[in-house]
Amino acid sequence: MDKKSAKGWLYILPAFLFLGVFLLYPLVDVFIYSFEEGFNFASQSYYGVGSYNYAYVLRDPYFLQAVKNTFLLVAITVPVSTGLALLISLGLSSISRLRELYQTIFFLPYVTNTLAVGLVFMILFKRTPYTDGLANLIIGLFGAEPVDFIDGPYWAKMTVLCLYTVWIVMPFKILILTSALASVNRDYYNAARIDGTPAWRIFTRITVPMISPTIVYLIITGFIGAFKAYSDAVALFGTNLNAAGMNTIVGYVYDMLYGSSGGYPSYASAAAILLFAIVLTITCLNLLISRKHVSYLS
């Protein structure tokens, strides 16, 4: 190898080594793990090759519960957060006074520690012998019965998880949508205004088409992010998510790997690959559907 090539390789060598050891090799290895049956962590041995791990995971009630929770979380939070973020971004771009202040405040959840602020949500929603909690106090004003959102019925726990997830993902969506709205060419609006186009029509015929690629981007990253939900659930319900019935697919993977229920890297691998397959399928579907509805002229 000539000297020039050697130098180039020397510069990328550190990155290459890190990526090779901690990203490329594991990627291959995870598929191997997922097909090794009866893998024993201590002796590093296994007794067969096949799809048993997948069959096991797909029959495991904890996995099915995790899949149900994750799909519900995705189905609720992605549309809600995207819609709400669009509404707020439209509001933000229509004002000039106090705009910076609002933008700064809205971004705050992005820089917070998910685990730490999750604790605050927990105490706001938790019902203890000492107090019903602030959330119950508020819904009590509307005549509702107090309910424990953290250890109570499934719908209540799911509600808090969705609320917290939306709270966490909003900053990113608002930021991206606000800059997309700002980049729409003013000429379109001015032309529409001269024609006396009503506001609603301006929104559906100009704004939405112009920012549709951004919306699609946010929906896709939203889906991917929500499918990987885990630490928000831990923050609210503690590390034993299976007992709380609030586990997510990612949580199932980690529980299989480590902790009191852990020690099964094969099951964890199979579950992780199933998750990846789900995410990939949904991302492709998203892209296919959006190709019909998105205008990319700008």
Binding site: S5, F22, F107, L119, V169, Y230, T239, P265, A268
Partner: protein, 285 residues
């Protein structure tokens, strides 16, 4: 030159008012948890537990809970660990990223395009897929409960290499040739010319990585079970599950404030840079 469409000024004013109401409501939703944690952290233990109906303010603030947070659990240690972890990981990431980005942007070597495509395709791999083997690797290397075990798998970010490479390529090539004529070495050129010129991008990826490190939870949880190596996220989880006795919410909230404060201060100081960085390259959605 305001042109009013049918509906007129009154309707427009109402819409504007409604906009401010909406934005203010969301601002309150965002701020309220922060207010609540600050408030609860300065209520005394007795006062907090005596409130069957939570009070929205307190007239007798106390710092007792902060003392409790630092003495009853090793919060200072979690904090120091996290600072160390964040500094070392970010520094290593910077070194690796700057070198690789420079090689891709300026140096010519055999296999460059192939390697670059490989790097780009690695960007799509979700961390959930590789964490299993990494856990096994680190365990076998006997690096559990150690800083190398925490740091090494967290170093690389392909996306940052890509971001910096794009920026490096915008630096005029003439500068490089001029430096070469003067006999400047590549390394010196990189750190004396390229990095200073691309400082905004370098700072952006540094801050984004620091935020990521500060908040990392999953990997540290897998790889440490000895409290002496806990980061703040794991620390707060331990506190929640066993520390203080589960009922001492004010002390818990004091710990939450201590853990949240550094990033919020960092954000307020570098607001523009962080928001721009996130809109260019952030994830978490």
């Amino acid at each position: 030159m305001e042109h009013e469409y049918s509906g007129g000024l009154g309707k427009k004013r109402a819409l504007r008012g409604l906009t401010y109401v909406l934005l203010t409501v969301w601002a309150l939703v965002v701020l309220f948890p922060f207010y609540w944690m600050l408030l609860s952290s300065v209520k005394s233990y007795g006062a907090y537990n005596a409130e069957y109906i939570p009070q929205l303010f307190t007239l007798q603030p106390t710092l007792e809970n902060y003392r409790e947070a630092f003495t009853a659990v090793p919060l200072a240690r979690f904090f120091a660990n996290t600072v160390l972890f964040t500094l070392l990981t970010t520094a290593l990431m910077l070194a690796v990223t700057v070198l690789a980005a420079y090689a891709f942007a300026r140096l010519n070597f055999r296999g460059k395009n192939l390697v670059f495509v490989l790097f780009l395709s690695l960007m799509m791999i979700p961390s959930e897929l590789v964490v299993i083997t990494n856990f096994v690797t680190i365990t076998e290397l006997d690096l559990r409960n150690s800083f190398p075990g925490l740091i090494l798998p967290s170093v690389t970010s392909v996306f940052y290499i890509y971001l910096l490479k794009e920026n490096f390529e915008q630096v005029p090539e003439q500068l490089y040739y001029a430096a070469k004529v003067d006999g400047t070495s590549d390394l010196k050129y990189l750190f004396k010319v390229m990095v200073p010129i691309c400082r905004p991008t370098v700072v952006t990826i540094t801050i984004l990585k620091a935020i990521e490190c500060w908040n990392s939870y999953v990997w540290p949880r897998l790889i440490t079970d000895d409290e002496r190596y806990f980061l703040v996220s794991n620390g707060i989880q331990t506190i929640r599950e066993s520390g203080f006795g589960r009922e001492n919410i004010p002390a818990m909230m004091a710990a939450v404030v201590v853990i949240s404060a550094p990033l919020i201060l960092l954000f307020l100081a570098f607001r523009r840079m962080i928001m721009e960085g996130v809109s260019r390259g952030g994830t978490k959605g």
